[in-house]
């Protein structure tokens, strides 16, 4: 049995960030991920925001982590070379009642310690966001709010962890804990057993099931809350920051936001569902986000939508970390007293992405508090270099790149300008991209107007060549999602 100091269950942004935080120390670490790639579930389908921190309930762990993480993002994104922009965000009020609500948010934000918050006039808002609803009368402006590429953050943190010695096992599903004398000493997975002094539950949507297997918090339950999104063609609409509606009691509402890929993102709605795999988009949901978006930007045009998708938030039911506050649904980040060897996380829904850098550090602090001797490595490397992106290069840089590697001269995705060189580099990167969607998440190929119609056969061919497989074995997102069934000229059931 392979032995590690730490086993992290789950390769989302939280699992990968914790892996990176721990990789600073002299520890052997294994991260297990059940999917064919990291960040496939919640970390790649969300609003891509770095929240300022005024929204979370004061006294909650959510508020504490969010506000602590917000200023860390410049260093986090800088070291990992990931797309991040502190563009600020607005909560837009369109009538008197909503203006009152802004005051409440302002007060809450100040209590949480969010810097720079202020209420601006409708005209100030319109000067920055000309497309905003002309009826907007005022807005709460949070200059520290920002946008990022959430999958890039997950990947970069994961890669940096790998650079610093962490091992990542994909397609590896946690099944149960191995315990000895009431202490967790390892995990059973579909790919064998691994022993570890510590196991970190970063299983996101599955975090309830994982902690229950350790006998922790039997009443804790994750309710998947589905949110649907549209992406709008970058040629058709330009938003400079993040526009929130005034929140309702249940949700932050349908927002309209800039993205790091220069498109506009609209969504999400919020729908509690039972199935943790159901990322369907629905006609009703699409209408809902459509109407929500029109409230903020009335000119948004349905014909300019280029993609739609849904994500699942891992909504928990834990009581507030501060027991004097009447709030349910807080983050769980703890080392439970009842079982040894478990770092338990759960309910890391929004603002989980925003809070990720702080959560990584918080886990380190918790471990130190529990007497774990963490010794820093001399050769820890916090910088994860970015890989070249043809789209962002100047003509001179392109010329030089193609001279070094001719494959950068072959454009595979025209809309997003992604070259063969970039695809090949991702296939052979520290956390290899082995499926079409994995390449799409890393390069943004196939996300433009034609939605992969042109590039898909070419990418399947490149994947097959680089992985030494038949195109029949290439998948969209892992086993069972093969693109192609058989060769032509064969009849079903007969060999070629």
């Amino acid at each position: 049995m392979k032995t590690f100091d730490f086993i992290i269950i789950g390769g989302g942004v939280i699992g990968c960030t914790i892996a990176r935080s721990l990789s600073r120390y002299k520890l052997s670490i294994l991260l297990v991920e059940k999917e064919s790639d990291i960040g496939m579930v919640t970390s790649s389908a969300n609003s891509a925001l770095v929240h300022a921190g005024y929204d979370a309930v004061a006294g909650s762990l959510k508020a504490k982590m969010n506000v602590a993480a917000s200023p860390m993002w410049d260093t986090f994104a800088g070291e990992l070379n990931i797309p991040f922009r502190r563009c600020g965000d607005f909560v837009v009020a369109v009538d008197e009642k909503e203006v009152q609500k802004l005051e409440e948010l302002l007060t809450r934000g100040k209590k949480n310690g969010v810097p720079g918050l202020k209420i601006v006039t409708g005209d100030e808002l319109k000067a920055k966001e000309p497309l905003v609803n002309p009826n907007a009368t005022a807005a709460l402006w949070a200059p520290t709010g920002g946008i990022c590429d959430p999958f890039a953050a997950t990947l970069a943190a994961g890669e940096n962890a790998v650079m610093n010695g962490v091992q990542i096992a994909l397609n590896t599903t946690f099944e149960s804990f191995i315990t000895e004398n009431g202490r967790i000493i390892g995990v059973h997975t579909n790919r064998g057993d691994f022993s570890g002094r510590w196991v970190v539950n970063a299983a996101g949507l599955q975090s309830d099931a994982v902690m229950h297997k350790a006998g922790v918090r039997p009443e804790f339950k994750i309710t998947p809350r589905r949110g649907e999104y549209f992406i709008v063609d970058r040629e058709e609409m330009k938003i400079n920051s993040v526009l929130f509606p005034v929140p309702s009691d249940v949700s932050k509402g349908i927002l309209v936001t800039a993205t790091m890929h220069e498109n506009t993102l609209i969504g999400p709605n919020a729908q509690n569902i039972d199935d943790k795999e159901d990322k369907s988009i629905t006609a009703k949901g699409m209408d809902e986000i459509w109407n929500g978006a029109k409230k903020l930007v009335p000119s948004v045009n349905q014909r300019s939508i280029i993609a739609s998708y849904a994500g699942l938030r891992a909504g928990g039911n834990a009581p507030c970390a501060d027991s004097s506050v009447d709030y349910t649904g807080d983050f769980v980040i703890e080392i439970p007293e009842t079982v040894m060897g478990l770092v338990n996380l759960g309910g890391i829904e929004s603002p989980g992405l925003s809070a990720a850098p702080a959560i990584g550090q918080y886990v380190v602090e918790l471990l130190k508090d529990h007497g774990e001797q963490l010794i820093e490595k001399a050769d820890y490397q916090p910088i994860r270099p970015a890989r070249p992106r043809f789209r962002h290069m100047s003509m001179d840089e392109r010329k030089e790149m193609i001279q070094r590697d001719a494959r950068y001269g072959r454009v595979i995705c025209r809309c997003e300008m992604v070259t063969e060189g970039e695809i090949v580099a991702e296939i052979h990167s520290p956390i290899p991209a082995t499926t079409y969607d994995a390449i799409k998440r890393r390069t943004w190929l196939g996300t433009g107007r034609c939605q992969g119609g042109f590039d898909m056969p070419l990418v399947v061919e490149i994947l097959a060549r680089e992985l030494g497989k038949s195109p029949l074995e290439i998948t969209k997102k892992g086993e069972g999602s093969e693109y192609l069934y058989r060769k032509t000229k064969t009849v079903e059931g007969q060999p070629a």
Binding site: F230, D278, A283, G453, P457, K477, T488
Partner: protein
């Protein structure tokens, strides 16, 4: 070897592009270059292996590849150069083209005229707001056509097709030929969106059911598509409750329309008609940017490749006329240069032919003031063609001097004009 300047550069080697190249060459363009992103010329015709091409233009019923090859051979015979595996990255409105391929890297080409022939692309799932999960097995008909006809792979065995566009119906027959079972073709409109003859020879002939006023309400299956939920719709396209059906399938093909492909046109500053998605064109198929023409499905989606070819001929011929005019103007022009103590001269270029008929006025400013009698000298090399006396020469006061038809002979054989302003001796 790729030259730096061409009379006509065509983007795309489908029927429109190749026809434009041929017509341009025949109309007198000296050199014509066709840029193609694929490994061989022909465009989407190469995957359209079915018959039905050429009846209008050639009087023969040909498959797409045969039809394409006729014109490609003609183009090659005329000396037209095809640059393959080359993707155009940018076009400026001064008709500079920036492209890339893995052999030459970044290529910059100046065209005297450009013909846009990028064709069209297929509408996607998001554009028709198709609900449900996002598994493998949902493809546009054209993507499936490439896999089946060029690369030799089957996307599945049990197929539902959404949309009664021509490619969808043709793929229904094609997949049937390759041993797949096409469950049905659904069309949201109360009428067929493709050609009636394709309904007969692609669906009726093979007993493939067509359901009008039906659509997909939901895609089912997480990894690979497992089924679709279909529904009947009313006249306003709203699903009619109680008409839902779950149809098991492993593939859903979308044939829900084509859109002119104009990313590059936009970069060149070409105005696009928002109703159609293609550039505004005049009767020469010239776009809003002078010297940039457009031919075929890039303008609007045609029913027949034959008509695309005809549009290509017209655009190519006019592109050649434009290029020839531009070339002549370039040939008959000489530059004016600021010489001794001259800051600038306007115009920067003189068309020699204009000088044969009328005076051409040169306007200039000096660099340094000369507070004494001065002389303006217009020279070709060392030879002074004409001169003019001034009392002073000051930067704040514009000076002008005329060239006259009598100077035509000297200037006709010159390659540049220089203007000096000096103190009179």
């Amino acid at each position: 070897m790729i030259k730096q300047v061409y009379d006509v550069v065509v983007i795309g080697s489908g029927p429109g592009g190749v026809a434009a190249g041929i017509a341009a060459k025949k109309a007198g363009a000296e050199d014509v270059l066709i840029l193609e992103r694929d490994v061989e010329p022909g465009g989407i015709l190469l995957q359209c292996i079915h018959n039905g091409f050429g009846m209008e233009n050639l009087g023969e019923d040909l498959p797409g590849p045969s039809y394409a090859q006729r014109y490609i051979i003609e183009a090659q015979g005329l000396g037209i150069v095809f640059l393959l595996e080359t993707m155009v990255l940018d076009i400026t409105h001064q008709r500079k083209i920036i492209a890339t391929n893995k052999y030459a890297g970044i290529i910059e080409i100046q065209a005297r005229a450009i013909v846009l022939g990028m064709g069209c692309r297929e509408r996607t799932r998001a554009q028709i707001r198709l609900p449900g999960s996002r598994p493998a097995g949902v493809y546009t008909a054209g993507t499936a056509q490439r896999w089946v006809n060029i690369e030799g792979y089957m996307p599945g065995n049990n197929i539902v097709i959404l949309g009664s566009g021509d490619i969808g119906m043709i793929m229904a027959r094609r997949l049937t030929f390759e041993g797949a079972h096409v469950e049905r073709v659904l069309e949201i409109m109360p009428f067929l969106s493709g050609l009636s003859r394709n309904y007969v020879q692609c669906l009726l002939d093979y007993d493939i059911p067509l359901q009008l006023q039906h659509t997909v309400k939901r895609i089912i299956g997480n990894d690979r598509i497992e089924a679709v939920e279909t529904t009947r719709v009313d006249d306003r396209f709203n699903p009619i409750a109680g008409t839902e059906e779950i149809i098991p399938c492993d593939t859903l093909l979308l044939s829900v329309g084509l859109i002119p492909e104009n990313e590059l046109s936009r970069k060149a500053g070409v105005a696009i008609d928002p109703n159609i998605g293609g550039p505004y064109v005049d009767d020469d198929y010239q776009t809003s940017v002078p010297g940039i023409f457009a031919a075929g499905n890039v303008v609007h989606v045609y029913d027949l490749a034959d008509w695309v070819t005809q549009a290509g001929f017209r655009a190519g011929e006019n592109a050649a006329f434009f290029a020839i005019k531009t070339r002549n103007r370039e040939l008959r022009s000489i530059p004016t240069t600021a010489g001794k103590n001259v800051r600038y001269v306007i115009p920067q270029q003189i068309n020699k032919d204009n000088l044969a008929e009328k005076d051409v006025s040169l306007q200039l400013r000096v660099r340094q003031p000369i507070e004494a009698p001065s002389r303006i000298l217009v020279k070709c090399g060392d030879e002074v063609i004409t001169s003019k006396a001034e009392m002073y020469a000051r930067p704040g006061e514009m000076i002008s001097i005329d060239l006259k038809p009598k100077h035509y002979d000297v200037i006709n054989s010159a390659c540049a004009i220089t203007v000096d302003v000096v103190e009179r001796e």
